[in-house]
């Protein structure tokens, strides 16, 4: 998929664990893992908003378009 999820990078920058982020934004660690691995089919705006708020970043910091 040409959309790459850079959630790992942002988590490392903020020195936050996946488990903590999952707890803050209110999703399961399994779902967060699906999102991180790029297996997710879609992301809800509410989830994106919660991630951006928790990591203090912009949606563009998490999602990136890469031409294959």
């Amino acid at each position: 998929m040409p959309i790459v999820i850079n959630l790992d990078v942002m988590l490392a920058k903020r020195k936050m664990k996946s488990k903590d982020l999952a707890e803050i934004i209110g999703i399961t660690t399994a779902n967060l893992s699906i999102l991180k691995s790029g297996k997710a089919k879609a992301v809800r705006f509410s989830t994106l908003e919660a991630i951006c708020e928790a990591l203090d970043c912009q949606p563009g910091d998490i999602l990136e378009y890469v031409n294959d």
């Binding site: 999703i27 967060l32 699906i34 999102l35 997710a40 879609a42 992301v43």
Partner: protein, 171 residues
């Protein structure tokens, strides 16, 4: 889910009776095939003499036996689907596969049941061709319709499975 449990009960009864029927059918076929004498039995078999005399039965019986086998396969797959529904697994790939198999097996069983009536006139060298209107629930046309319905249902379930998968993978 009372409807589902009633359906399960009916399918279970049909499945067991079909297996018993298959065993009895196989027994009769062996009797006809080897020409065993059943006149010593303590009970009388209806139309036994007609059964053993007809030469066409050698050819007709295997088709009917196979049709019964396929019918048992249909019931077995039906049981599996009901079990999946009991577990709350409605839109799974397995359900799609089983529904498609049921439809296909229905069509095969119709073909196997119709074949003897097509072959028999050629074997007995008769010029009489029987025509019958496809009316009623036991007609071949109805069974073909049921088979195609199951196949269409499998395609619908396949779409539902994809939508469900997409929904589950939406974070």
């Amino acid at each position: 889910m009372k409807k589902l449990s009633t359906l399960k009960l009916i399918i279970d009864i049909l499945y067991i009776s079909a297996i018993i029927g298959l065993i009895v059918f196989l027994g009769f076929y062996l009797v006809v095939l080897f020409g065993w004498d059943l006149s010593d039995l303590p009970f009388k078999l209806k139309d036994y003499n007609n059964l053993s005399l007809s030469q066409n039965l050698y050819i007709i019986y295997p088709f009917l036996f196979l049709a019964l086998l396929v019918y048992i396969l249909v019931l077995k797959n039906f049981k599996k689907i009901i079990e999946l529904f009991y577990q709350g697994k409605f839109f799974e790939f397995k359900t799609v596969k089983l529904l498609r198999e049921i439809g296909l097996h229905f069509l095969i069983s119709v073909f196997l049941m119709v074949m003897p009536s097509i072959i028999t006139p050629f074997l007995s060298n008769t010029t009489v061709v029987k025509f019958s209107l496809p009316i009623g629930f036991d007609s071949s046309f109805f069974l073909i319709a049921i088979g195609l319905f199951f196949m269409a249902l499998s395609e619908i379930f396949n779409k539902a499975f994809k939508i469900n998968q997409e929904n589950e993978l939406t974070i």
